[in-house]
Structures are given as structure tokens and as C-alpha cells.
Symmetry: C2
Subunit: 205 residues, 2 copies
DNA sequence: GCATGCGTATGATCGCGATCACACGCCCTT
DNA sequence: AAGGGCGTGTGATCGCGATCATACGCATGC
């Protein structure tokens, strides 16, 4: 297990204490493999390294309810608080998942103050980010969501995208077509300047 | 300060240790009063008792970017991790806010293991809930959002609403008109039964 | 060389939800 | 009793984004 490389991919793993690292296990999942089932005992904490894993439930008509999609980072963290899972976890593509034994994870949180602070910070940042995303998704128009994203995730009205536009569109709750159109219209109106992955909102002159 | 009543209103306050309770201060806010400004030192942890408080930033064109709306519960928790605020907090109506000194709050988290567990649980549940809400808001159709809400927040395809429909519509990212129409169509199709505040999804026969 | 897949990008059409308008019942205050 | 405010509904219209279609550039693989 090369933690150097893992930490480069995911900064959040940096604070995992050495003790706990030794207990970690990296599992490979095939497409549509199941990580855990509803009702299973919570014995593991997961972090998605690559691919995509979803938390899903089936509703009365048999269709899928997606509770969470993860393409990287800790996953189903909330389950640490409960004894059994309330949903299934399924990989939607070939994926790699880091697995920590839940007992030792909890113990490390109790014993290691640094790790605990890092974990509290992780959860708090996650909450902040998700709250902002919910506010963003409640905006109706595409250009409003774009402006909100740049203002809340960037600095001083500028941001450098770290993902393809298509993925960004999905994060904004838009189709890629709607995103492209809104971007070019914002450019035409002079409200936005685009240089590659660098987007900057402009003051209305 | 009557903690009995406060805890009834907000279960999350139950785990606050006695020591910290003594330090709490309840502040009343007028409409559009400011709780803190961008750049202020983080010296307080807030919980909204009544009314509504928003975290906002102003963008380049001067319009408001809402990062979070809170109508109850802890507020700007993520700021505990940083030294200064990155946004303003403004009351949108007459409100009451519980204020804890941040130093003592942090100290209590370090010293009191029960409080810490409760706080970790609180953050984790919040993350779970927000992730589900983001997934829900990414659904396009009103009936899909309704079904997703009932399945993810209720039990066995049933839920009892604890808020008026209008507020529910806002939480679903819909206008109340769209919600009413979707509800009556789901009823007509036999996919949903409604008795007052009790909603139940039905198996397609 | 060619085929395949994917991100990027733009045009045309359609459908759903937003918006505007209106009505009713209920609670509260005066 | 009168009036206002608010939640609850329903009807009509409109606009924006979804959807379908198409095209191009650029990788990768055979």
C-alpha cells in the first residue's frame, strides 16, 4: 500500500494515523459489485479511490433511489454512528475502495486528538460545501448556478475548473448542452471571461 | 435560560454539557440584523432557535449569493475550523440565536467524550441528509423528487410531514403550485395515498 | 489507415415547471 | 363584523432547460 500516492490523490487521507493505516485494506470492485447490503452490520469505513460507488435503496415500484454518489473520498461516513446499514452500496463502474475496520477507526478517533480534529474538520467542510450546493441547486436559471458556483467555490470571482465541463454540468444539475449555452451567453454579455479552465466573473461596467 | 424547552424544540441541544450551557447567551435579532461580517474572527458558535439566518456573500455585480439558510439548528458549524468568517450572516426576519463561546465549545469537544460523540453524530447525520438532498434536487421531475423524499426521509414508503406543504415545496426545490399538482396527479394515478400529513407510496398493482 | 469512444459545441423542438392570476378557508387583530 | 395575512388549491400561459440530432477534434486500439 503506497500512502504517498494515495495522499496525493486524496488529501483527506493524510491525517490517518500510522496505526490505522496498517489496518487498511484496498478492495477492487467490478462493475455493479455490491460493497454492502441493507441490514449488514457496520464494520467498515470506506473511502473511494477510483471509480464510482453509490448508496441506493429500492422503492416500492422497484426503481432505484440514489442517496449518495461518490467518485472519491470518504463514503457513507454517517454510518459510523449506526449499527446497521440502511441502504445498499453498489459500484457503477470498476472501482477501488480503501477499507478501514470501523472498531479501530472509532478507537483512533477517541485516542488521537490530531486525527479527531482532522476528522471534525473534514465533516464540517463537507457540511459547508453541501449546504452551498443545495442552495445552488435551488436556483432556477443556469447562469445563476454558474455565478453561484464561481463565487462560492472560487476566490474573488475566479475559479480554475479541475474537471471536464461535462462533469461540471452534472454537479450543477444541468445537462452539458445547457451549460455550454449559458457559458457562451455569459461571455457574449461580457459578464464572464473564459480562458481554458479559468473562469472569471466580470464587474458590470 | 430554560433548557427544558430549548431541547424540546431542538433535540441537538440535549448533549451540550452543563458547563457549556452556563456560557450560552441568547441573542435577539431584528429583521436584516447582521450576526457577523466577512473577515470577523470566529469567536462564537451559533444555533438558530427561531426565525431565519442566512450566510451570504456579495458577488461582483452586487447581488447576493446565499451559501446557507438556517431556520433552526447549528449554523456555520464549519467555521469552527477556520479563524475568520468567509461570509456575512444576516437575519431575514426577527430571530433568536443561541451563542456559545467558540473557545469553550472547542474545549468541551476535547474534554467531554459524550459531547464529542454527539457532535460527530450530528455532523455525520447532517452530511447524510444533505447528500440525499443534493441527489434529490438533481432529479428533474416533481414526482421523482416527491418519491425520493418519501423513500429517503420516511420509513417503508410512508412519511408524516412535520411542516406545511409550502415549506416542503421549497425544500424540494419546487414552487407550491408544482408540488400540489404533482401530488394530485400521483393520487389520481394511484401511486400515492394522502391522509392529512400522512403520505404513503403504493405498490403498482 | 480506419473504427470507436469521449469531450466539446451548436441547432431545433418539446415538455415541465415557473409564473401570474384567482379563490377559499382559517386565524388573528382591531 | 371587518380586514389582513397565510396556507391551500386550481387554471392559463410562458420560458427555460431537457431532449434529440448533428458535427468536430482528439485520443486509443486494431
Amino acid at each position: 500500500m503506497n500512502w504517498q500516492i494515495l495522499i496525493e490523490q486524496q488529501a483527506g487521507l493524510a491525517h490517518i494515523p500510522a496505526e490505522l493505516r496498517k489496518q487498511a485494506d484496498c478492495r477492487s470492485l467490478d462493475r455493479s459489485a455490491t460493497l454492502f447490503h441493507i441490514g449488514d452490520l457496520v464494520q467498515t469505513v470506506f473511502s473511494v479511490i477510483s471509480g464510482e460507488v453509490r448508496l441506493v435503496r429500492r422503492d416500492m415500484s422497484g426503481s432505484e433511489i440514489v442517496l449518495q454518489r461518490s467518485r472519491g473520498g470518504f463514503f457513507a461516513e454517517a454510518s459510523l454512528g449506526s449499527a446497521r446499514y440502511h441502504c445498499d452500496a453498489v459500484a457503477t463502474e470498476v472501482s477501488k475502495v480503501l477499507c478501514f475496520p470501523a472498531r479501530q477507526f472509532r478507537a483512533a478517533l477517541d485516542d488521537d486528538a490530531d486525527f479527531r480534529d482532522a476528522w471534525l474538520g473534514h465533516l464540517a467542510r463537507e457540511v459547508r460545501k453541501l449546504r452551498a450546493q443545495c442552495e445552488r441547486l435551488n436556483l432556477r436559471r443556469a447562469d445563476e448556478r454558474i455565478a453561484h458556483f464561481i463565487e462560492s467555490e472560487g476566490t474573488d470571482g475566479s475559479i480554475t475548473l479541475n474537471q471536464p465541463r461535462k462533469a461540471w454540468a452534472a454537479e450543477l444539475g444541468l445537462t452539458h448542452e445547457a451549460l455550454y449555452r449559458a457559458l457562451s451567453q455569459l461571455q457574449r454579455n461580457g459578464r464572464l471571461s473564459i480562458q481554458g479552465q479559468q473562469l472569471s466573473l466580470k464587474k458590470p461596467s
